[in-house]
Symmetry: C2
Subunit: 216 residues, 2 copies
Amino acid sequence: MLNIGVLVSGRGSNLQAIIDGIEKGRIDARIKLVISDNPDAFAIERCKNHNIPYRIVERRNFPSKVAFEEEMANLLREENVELVVLAGFMRILSKSFLRHFPDRVINIHPSLIPAFQGLHAQRQAVEFGAKFSGCTVHIVDESVDGGPVIVQAVVPLLPEDTEESLSERILKFEHRVLPQTVQWFAEGRVKVEGRKVLVEGAKYGTLPVNPELEKF
Amino acid sequence: MLNIGVLVSGRGSNLQAIIDGIEKGRIDARIKLVISDNPDAFAIERCKNHNIPYRIVERRNFPSKVAFEEEMANLLREENVELVVLAGFMRILSKSFLRHFPDRVINIHPSLIPAFQGLHAQRQAVEFGAKFSGCTVHIVDESVDGGPVIVQAVVPLLPEDTEESLSERILKFEHRVLPQTVQWFAEGRVKVEGRKVLVEGAKYGTLPVNPELEKF
């Protein structure tokens, strides 16, 4: 069983997808701790509903970003967390946090990076007039939404799409690729070599979406 | 019949795809003129083989970029060219050229823009470790590979891919999307509204590649 920690700031729908995957027996992991930097995050309700330990760690209660990040890292390390999942966590983590979990902090971003990095990725895609977008799970490094890519899912963008309708279409795939990625880590199949990430035994190379999504 | 001009700098495989589409009766257009800025471009041989008028216009023979571009624009206008297709043309066109053909200069780029714009797009994709790339036909504006998107095709990127193998996979789709786009213009179905391009009557919204590729 893989010990995971999840960092959230908002409604936590991707946290819910992981909870569901675990409860259905598709993910061989346990959520040792959820940390929210926002005391009002709906994600906290999800923790209560599923008896998952959570802590609220607010940036404003620390004198520096480093102190804030050290507190989070210490809480996660005390729980022997092996993989940290950012699920709608709205802060950029610095090296002082990442060094505790080398290549073991992952994030989900609602675009095919390097396209539409940063905030409001779906709105960016609609305004650009792209014909496809999607979502990406990547290793977190010090870039913003730019770390090594583990998996991407492609979705079409329709002429009538709005930020909302595209977000909804992408979210369905976020709820597949993120749990799948956690399970790959649980199975010890994720190999990171520089910018290249290989999932051992995954089926690469066909569309739509992802042949490598085996269970989700 | 749509009168088109094609600008080339190299081997001209996308020019060949257009020639083939016309000869097979899938494109209702005639190539009125091919302009090469490179006297050694293999594309010129293709023109000779298919009795297509061509001109060599070298930048070094003109005192300024504007004068060079004005010469090309004049040659194209003399032939009543309605659509200018950049098919591996390796220069950035300025407003002085584009104003002669508003929203009627198109380019093909071997990535899903805005990802991997500029030179060596396939190499950029391999080095980034992307899981998908593709190609884009777009309206040319003064940005580099950034104008309004007409059509995109997605291809998977495999773990063993090199710049060469990815380029080959993408090229097969370049040879479909570019002729298809020319035919859409011939049919008068391309509507440009700011950054949004709509192909009237095209089927949007499914993968793989492109439901809207009807004939290619």
